[in-house]
């Protein structure tokens, strides 16, 4: 008898040793007593499994129809699933492990089977219990030998073959008790199959999706991968998993992409390099230095603010916060420094006393510009010298802009056309628009606008004005400016429709020039805001 026990314990430690060498530490954990432990079976489906959250018996019928439509094309099947389940389906690859908790009795394997209990969040309890019974049988059938590795193998095979799924391997439906309990009582469907009915189906659904995501990242990070952009190879930890499209991109390439586009002001082109899906701001923040991130945010804020008409900036140079105008009131209240000012002259609020800057600003500017010295001094005393000079500059710039530039219909950014056709693309927000009527155009077919007879002004006028532009290019810009107003701006280069100027410098330069222009237009306040003092 003693001899028998010795052999059993020898066999047991031998078996545990074998398991330890065959399975990874993640898959096999041994307890300190050397008699028990846990084996985790991880299941992966390379071609993916559709996880479906089924919340009613009616949806169950949809699901059955989908499963049975095996001869439909992939696109057709994807469409069916999308129509019936929307966000309640997700393709996953990895499922959480099935845990095999075992303890070995003294007389295992010769006289007693191992004690095995199975747990899994995605296999019905009933099925697990049946399996436990079956595993005891397996021990008998195998001639009462050590069977732990066989158990591992059996469950792995069955799981990857979809043996635990009520439907073919392509689908794992998740049901909820609460929602279909009453219907289920009258239906035989749920009793006859191994459906996974759990109290909190939605929670399970999301935790399965989350597990799949985490596991994909962990496995990716354990290996070395080549980057499709820079062609270098890096450990998986040097890649970032994009939030929106879930592609992996090497961190350095992601950084350079973001830095370049932010530098150019082309933030609307911050997209995944593989699929052109927009980048999540969170990924951008992770990828770039603080300075570039700030610039990115500034661009986003600027375009949001410039889309709003009712914004003025606090005139205090050290504050410069955006202030929202209140209805028809001429008083602006700065939320930052609590300064209350007149939105026209930017001085302290002067109640109902008339404001010289309200109304015809142009007249005031011209009056000041044309006035003789004494009158000027007089005017400066009344309305402030710097303000008057700013006003003259502003009016000049506004004049120039109204003559030469048009505002993007989406973001209001001033855009100048230098040549080419009348389909323009805003330098700032990237949206296409018609130069003639300033209509927003659709990204898919921007030229359709010029072929629709309903657009009287623009029909067949895509290229209207091209001759003039061409002349401008040849002799307009380089010649001395006849117009004095253009002194500050004679180097301005504008944009030629949507054309791919191959010269890369152009875009950047023009961006800077447009920024200068914008600063002139919105005056000193904007200048201070962009280049904070100190």
């Amino acid at each position: 008898m003693a001899e028998q026990t010795n052999t059993d314990s020898e066999l047991q430690s031998e078996e545990l040793l074998v398991l330890e060498s065959l399975l990874s530490p993640e898959e096999f954990q041994k307890s300190d007593d050397h008699r028990s432990g846990v084996i985790d079976v991880y299941t992966a489906f390379e071609s993916g499994v559709e996880l479906v959250l089924v919340e009613s018996l009616e949806r169950m019928e949809h699901l059955k129809r989908w499963v049975e439509s095996s001869d439909a094309s992939e696109e057709e099947k994807a469409r069916m699933l999308e129509e019936s389940f929307g966000t309640r389906h997700e393709k996953i690859t990895h499922l959480p492990p099935i845990s095999i908790k075992f303890s070995l009795p003294e007389k295992y394997p010769s006289l007693e089977p191992p004690h095995v209990s199975l747990t899994s969040c995605w296999i019905p309890r009933r099925v697990l219990l049946q399996l436990e019974v079956f595993l005891k049988e397996l021990w008998k059938q195998n001639g009462q030998q050590a069977i732990l590795y066989d158990v591992f193998q059996f469950i792995t095979d069955r799981a990857t073959a979809g043996g635990f799924f009520p439907f073919p391997v392509a689908c794992l439906p998740v049901f909820s008790h609460e929602e279909i309990a009453t219907e289920a009582a009258t239906s035989a469907i749920l009793e006859s199959s191994n459906l996974l009915v759990v109290p909190h189906a939605r929670k399970l659904f999301h935790s399965l999706v989350q597990f799949d995501e985490n596991r994909t990242v962990v496995l990716f990070q354990q290996q070395t991968h080549g980057c499709g952009v820079c062609f270098d190879s890096f450990p998986g930890t040097d890649f970032i998993r994009l939030t929106n499209c879930r592609h992996f991109v090497c961190k350095e390439c992601m950084r350079r992409l973001c830095v370049n586009l932010i530098k150019d002001g082309s933030v609307h082109r911050l997209q995944c390099m593989e699929c052109q899906e927009d980048l999540n701001p969170f990924d951008i923040q992770l990828s770039v230095e603080a300075e570039a991130w700030e610039k990115y945010q500034q661009f986003q804020l600027d375009s949001a603010l410039s889309a709003m008409q009712d914004i003025v900036y606090c005139p205090r140079p050290w504050c410069n916060q955006a202030v929202i105008k209140e209805g028809d009131s001429t008083a602006g209240r700065c939320p930052g420094c609590a300064y209350v000012f007149c939105v026209h002259c930017k001085r302290g609020y002067h109640g109902i006393a008339p404001c010289p800057y309200d109304g015809d600003r142009k007249m005031l500017a011209n009056e000041y510009a044309d006035a003789d010295k004494d009158t000027r001094v007089d005017m400066e005393k009344r309305w402030g010298r710097r303000r008057l000079q700013n006003l003259v500059d502003e009016v000049k710039a506004e004049d120039w802009v109204s003559k030469n530039a048009k505002q993007c219909p989406k973001c209001g950014f001033p855009v100048q056309k230098m040549g080419g056709c009348n389909k323009m693309v805003c330098t700032k927000c990237g949206s296409p628009f018609c130069w003639l009527c300033l209509a927003k155009l659709t990204g898919a077919d921007p030229y359709g606008h010029f072929q629709d007879p309903n657009n009287r002004a623009c029909y067949q006028n895509l290229m209207q004005g091209i001759e003039d532009d061409h002349n401008d290019e040849e002799d307009g810009l380089d010649s001395d400016d006849e117009d004095e107003d253009e002194d500050d701006l004679d180097n301005v280069e504008g944009f030629h429709g949507d054309h791919g100027w191959i010269d890369l410098g152009g875009r950047e330069d023009a961006m800077i020039i447009f920024e200068q222009l914008l600063e002139l237009v919105i005056g000193q306040a904007a200048l201070n805001r962009r280049r904070p003092q100190n």
Binding site: D232, F234, N260, Q271, M273, G500, L504
Partner: protein, 189 residues
């Protein structure tokens, strides 16, 4: 991780791939500045034409698109006659780092010559002719090919550039301006 050579491997690989393909590549100033001999696609009026295309790869390649320009003259709605600038959205607006130089020469440019986009023209005359008198357009394209885009024409152009030797930028400028003066009368064919 951001070693000085980051991105270098990509640039080298792209250029080497280009050299290994059937295209003739002439280095003008290092691996980032060269010209590529490009043949007009078959079954188009550009067939039999041969152009030298200057390629300048920016430091931030492939995050910034390459600058490319035709060095000898071509009559095409989307290519500027004097500067050789190409209007092609995939080389600027919609450029992504996944594109490569091979894409440009093997797909994008051939496509552009086969299917001009007259609704977004850089050369208005060419666009108008292409739309209104397609036969005249083809004729004019062939005339240009005969005049400016033969092996002989390329040789003459190269010889003209040769004496200035190593100084690439001056070289290009002089050849460009010479070229414009020379062809000034040729423009009103």
């Amino acid at each position: 991780m951001s070693s000085p050579s980051a991105g270098k491997r990509r640039l080298d690989t792209d250029v080497i791939k280009l050299i290994e393909s059937k295209l003739e590549v002439n280095i003008l100033g290092g691996l980032n500045h060269f010209s590529v001999k490009f043949h007009g696609p078959k079954d188009t009026p550009y067939e039999d034409g041969v152009w030298r295309i200057r390629v300048l790869l920016p430091d931030d390649y492939p995050f910034k698109s390459p600058s490319i320009g035709f060095m000898n003259r071509i009559f095409h709605p989307n290519i500027d006659e004097c500067s050789g600038t190409v209007c092609l959205d995939v080389i600027n607006q919609t450029w992504t780092p996944m594109y490569s130089l091979s894409n440009i020469f093997e797909i994008f440019l051939s496509q552009l010559l086969s299917y001009p986009n007259p609704s977004d023209p850089l050369n208005g005359d060419a666009a108008a002719l292409y739309l209104q008198k397609p036969e005249d357009f083809k004729k004019k394209v062939r005339e240009y090919v005969q005049r400016y885009a033969t092996e002989e024409a390329l040789r003459v152009q190269e010889q003209r550039e040769a004496p200035t030797g190593m100084d690439e930028d001056d070289d290009d400028e002089s050849s460009m301006s010479e070229f414009s003066e020379d062809e000034a009368d040729g423009m009103d064919l």
